[in-house]
Symmetry: C2
Subunit: 226 residues, 2 copies
DNA sequence: GACTCCCTAGAGTATATACTCTAATAATAC
DNA sequence: GTATTATTAGAGTATATACTCTAGGGAGTC
């Protein structure tokens, strides 16, 4: 693998594990056993590394959120979207951790992220619309659907932060993809009232699959996640 | 005012405006026109300042979220809770910005925050319960109510972050309390399906008050907030 | 061999940041 | 007044971090 790609890959890995703030360019170089000079030969600065990783993330999510125009959506589609989005979040989880600081430091990123958000919100809304076409959800007026989509976005993008802050320990390491996907339970909770009677049972069943299992057997404490 | 209190006050102000990461102890001292030595005479380190500010925040929110046990809750109560909570968020908004890093750097804060979250979630759930008693909301099973409360928490605590990232410009400064309170619109959106028919109209009316006004007259772009 | 181009090493730098140390000054107690 | 304590100034430090600069190796081409 090319050094440049190694840098991107390792940066992502380190950022995800330790947070961007705690990973310096020198750390990345040391981790790869290359010199700082080498790293800076491939990237002008740290921001450029982050920006490039963000672009990968953007591509991935855009790919996931591609919505077929020729047919309505069903429950399987919804499951796929939810699973995919949380997979993406997991793979690039550092981005949503220190987002505000990242955006403050890089205007390109700020603009791109804003547009990215808009695209995602539009996609979520469109998914709701097509789920209604497919008879899974009750149809809703545009404004309500938009507000709901925004709520979904808020839950999806911040579920991980909640998990990390709700943990007692450092939590950076001990978070799992499985836990993350309990966010799907939360999203489905939001949707329940809008599910058509025909699909109600199925959705509730699907939701159960993501129900948080009380994690700590020590009986110490439980996050009251329902 | 005592120097110690001035430090706390100015720190809060600077943290809110520029983010904790961007405000050094030297900045705080310079802002107050005191020496670094003086600052460190009053506080052992930066973490202690943050921790003390957090404790104020905790007290404030705990005070707001005190729930009368002798009567059910009505719509005015709900409005009060929402308004108060967003006021509190506004006053201490830096805390929710870089929370993960703050918690990583201070174990006390981590523990306290975890308990704080639990208390808030319990309070939200209790409010829903009492709103049901008051006939405002339909009663819900415990698990659903818990999951809903968590969704409310996610929306409330992350609405500001969304606003900041959705803005095109640096946004640190140009965010207003008024905009922040559009978060109430989002929370009420979540509650709509559970409002009893008797109160439906009133809640929708209340919600309208917080509807985001399309902000930029330049016709440039609009955050699709419904 | 010499030239070029891509890549790499590694010492080095400017700046920042959290924090320390000493000495002096103001406030208070006796 | 004097002793004691609380407060303050301000220079200074250790460490970190993002980044630079120079020198050179290796591979391909002529």
């Amino acid at each position: 693998m090319k050094t440049r790609d190694k840098i991107l890959l390792s940066s992502l890995e380190l950022f995800n594990e330790q947070g961007e703030r705690n990973v310096t360019t020198n750390h990345i170089a040391a981790y790869l056993a290359i010199s700082p000079g080498n790293l800076y030969y491939h990237f002008r600065n740290k921001s450029d590394i982050i920006y490039e990783i963000f672009q990968e993330y953007e591509k991935l999510v855009d790919y996931y959120l591609d919505i077929p125009e020729n047919r309505p959506l069903n429950l399987d589609d919804m499951t796929f979207y939810l699973e995919s989005v949380f997979d993406g979040l997991w793979s690039y989880r550092f981005l949503h951790r220190d987002l505000e600081n990242l955006l403050d430091r890089d205007q390109r990123l700020r603009n791109d992220y804003r547009e990215f958000t808009d695209r995602c919100l539009a996609a979520i809304s469109r998914i709701f619309e097509k789920l209604a076409e497919g008879g899974v959800l009750e149809p809703q007026p545009d404004t309500l659907r938009a507000a709901m989509s925004l709520n979904v976005w808020l839950i999806v993008t911040n579920w991980m932060a909640f998990l990390k802050t709700a943990h007692g320990e450092k939590a950076s390491a001990c978070l799992t993809l499985r836990e993350l996907k309990q966010g799907i339970y939360q999203v489905l909770t939001l949707e329940i009232p809008y599910v058509t009677p025909v699909y109600r049972e199925q959705v509730l069943e699907l939701r159960e699959k993501y129900r948080p299992t009380m994690p700590e057997q020590e009986g110490e404490r439980e996050v009251s996640v329902g």
